[in-house]
């Protein structure tokens, strides 16, 4: 079975009424060259990529938006670097002006060391942006109750972290991710912490609807090869989730039947 057939057999990945063919969303941060970013986008087959807003750099070479337009991807602006709900809300409104989209990857972080979300500020910002007509995809802690609260205020998806941004530590609390998935009525997208392909596969096996990944690809020794690997892992994990894994058991269970086993005992002389 070729991987091209997977989307046909799978249910579509829908976020806020938009159907995405790819369950992998690519973060554009960390790529050293725009050419590599473009190649990685093609390798991931991502349709949605994140983007940030920063002060205009008159010395900047090459246009990021031109490159992304050529790749035919949709933009998901983020509010990276915001520490308060107010800053995040204003940043989202600036992104709407800049890119003409009301989709936002909402990040409100608590400190520089961990880059972990600040839960009360995140919830406040989410509520305000939903009221202002935004399609809000919040980067959140792997906390089931917070995920539920974000859904309750109208977020279009929840994006729990596997581990801190850029840490490559994988999914530290798969149990919590399972609890979030079990209860969510909106898509669950694992965001942050993926270090290599198996982390992305695990996210999908746990029942996540998608994976958002930046550093694991951008900072890999060969970003384009890793983009292929993580794309394949997301598809493999999705297939495995649908296929239904066997239960874990403490002891072995033979896969070859005992019936008809030859009697090879030597004769007693």
């Amino acid at each position: 079975m070729s991987t091209e057939q997977i989307p046909v057999t799978d249910t579509p990945f829908e976020v806020a009424g938009r159907t995405l063919r790819s369950r992998l969303i690519l973060g554009t941060g960390g790529f050293k060259r725009l050419e590599t970013l473009a190649e990685a986008i093609r390798a991931t087959r991502a349709e949605l990529v994140t983007i940030a807003l920063r002060r205009i750099d008159p010395q900047a070479r090459g246009s990021l938006t031109d490159v992304l337009d050529e790749c035919g991807v949709e933009l998901l602006p983020n509010t990276a670097g915001c520490f308060t709900a107010r800053d995040a809300v204003v940043t989202a409104r600036l992104a709407r002006e800049a890119f003409g989209t009301d989709w936002v990857k909402l990040e409100v972080i608590g400190d520089d060391r961990t880059l972990l979300p600040d839960a009360p500020e995140l919830l406040l910002a989410a509520e305000e942006l939903v009221a202002d007509g935004f399609t809000v995809l919040p980067y959140t802690n792997d906390a089931p109750i917070l995920a539920r609260r974000l859904e309750d205020v109208g977020c279009a998806a929840v994006m729990p972290l596997g581990s801190p941004i850029g840490s490559g530590m994988g999914i530290r609390n798969p149990y919590n991710i399972s609890l979030i998935v079990e209860r969510a009525n909106v898509p669950v997208i694992l965001d942050a912490g993926v270090g290599t392909a198996s982390d992305a596969a695990l996210a999908m096996e746990l029942g996540c609807d998608g994976v958002l990944c930046a550093s694991a690809i951008a900072r890999a020794h060969d970003p384009v090869a890793m983009a292929h690997a993580i794309r394949a892992a997301v598809e493999a994990g999705r297939l495995a989730r649908g296929a239904g894994r066997i239960p874990r058991r403490l002891h072995a269970e033979a896969s070859t039947p005992d019936e008809g086993l030859a009697d090879l005992t030597p004769p007693v002389r």
Partner: protein, 66 residues
């Protein structure tokens, strides 16, 4: 004196559009957004909105991220 992306400039009275040109941004460029004193200035107001003495202008554009 105004502040353009954190730098002091003797440009009180200039419009947002004029300041963007000075930053090398073509008028109406996609992927650009402007805030003055922490409030969004919609694109439709860039030609008319003049920056007053002491105001802080943030002129932003697309950057790789997250």
């Amino acid at each position: 004196m105004i502040f353009l992306n954190g730098e002091p400039r003797e440009r009180a009275g200039a419009t947002i559009s004029e300041l963007l040109v000075e930053l090398g941004v073509e008028a109406r460029a996609r992927g650009v957004a402007v805030a003055v004193d922490g409030e969004v200035v919609p694109r439709a107001e860039w030609d008319a909105r003049r920056v007053n003495e002491g105001e802080r202008v943030e002129a932003l554009s697309a950057m790789q991220g997250g």
